[in-house]
């Protein structure tokens, strides 16, 4: 069984609509992260969480919000989707950042 799952795997949405992506873990890890991956940019950190209701901004947080009401779930919300947010989104979990991350399989989001 995968210790981390993302849903949905693919989504197409219209500009201006809100979108929520879900990350679920069964490893009971304290740290959870949301990244986006774009050609030529690699993976860039959007937000991360270091505990229930404890979150912080990453490198590219504008236009995104997150929530973590339970240890196992970390939600990423695009308040009003724009075409520049078309990307592949990855969730990751970690015991501690410098121990390495376990990534989910990603969500491919297309904003039209």
């Amino acid at each position: 069984d995968a210790g981390i799952t993302q849903s949905p795997r693919h989504k197409v949405t219209e500009t201006g609509t809100p979108v929520t992506l879900r990350c679920h873990q069964t490893e009971n890890h304290r740290y959870m992260y949301w990244y986006r991956q774009d050609p030529g940019h690699g993976l860039r950190l959007i937000h991360y969480s270091y505990g229930v209701k404890d979150t912080d901004k990453g490198e590219v947080s504008d236009g995104y919000s997150v929530s973590r009401s339970k240890t196992e779930d970390f939600l990423l919300t695009l308040e009003s989707a724009t075409s520049s947010q078309t990307s592949v989104y990855f969730c990751a979990i970690s015991v501690a950042g410098n121990y390495g991350y376990t990534f989910g399989s990603g969500t491919r989001l297309t904003v039209v």
């Binding site: 740290y31 940019h41 860039r44 990751a92 991350y101 990603g106």
Partner: protein, 111 residues
């Protein structure tokens, strides 16, 4: 401009050849990690190095962290088609949760 520059961007070689890919920065990292990513999947952790000058071996893969903790290299001996993938380096800045990734080296090993 990427904080971590990886080179080369693309590498295509024949099975059995050796290769080295590089990860360079002007910043100092508390730790550095290497991942491999296959199409449609998330990156998978290969190794974490934390001490300047550290060398780690994982079967045919050898990872080295620079003495100044600003750069790293990955050497593959006798590459196999199964080594094909996108190799990413990632460095942890002062805040271990601020992990910065390079854009990756896309390796293709032909049979």
């Amino acid at each position: 401009t990427q904080l971590l520059e990886q080179s080369p961007q693309f590498l295509s070689i024949q099975e059995g050849e050796n290769l080295t890919v590089y990860c360079n920065s002007s910043s100092v990292f508390s730790s550095l990690q290497w991942y491999r990513q296959e199409p449609g999947e998330g990156p998978v952790l290969l190794v974490t190095v934390v001490t300047g000058g550290e060398v780690k071996k994982l079967k045919r893969l050898t990872f080295q962290f620079g003495d100044a903790r600003k750069d790293s290299s990955l050497h593959i001996t006798a590459a196999q088609p199964g080594d094909t993938g996108l190799y990413l380096c990632a460095g942890a800045l002062t805040n271990n949760n601020d992990m910065r990734f390079g854009a990756g080296t896309r390796l293709t090993v032909k049979p």
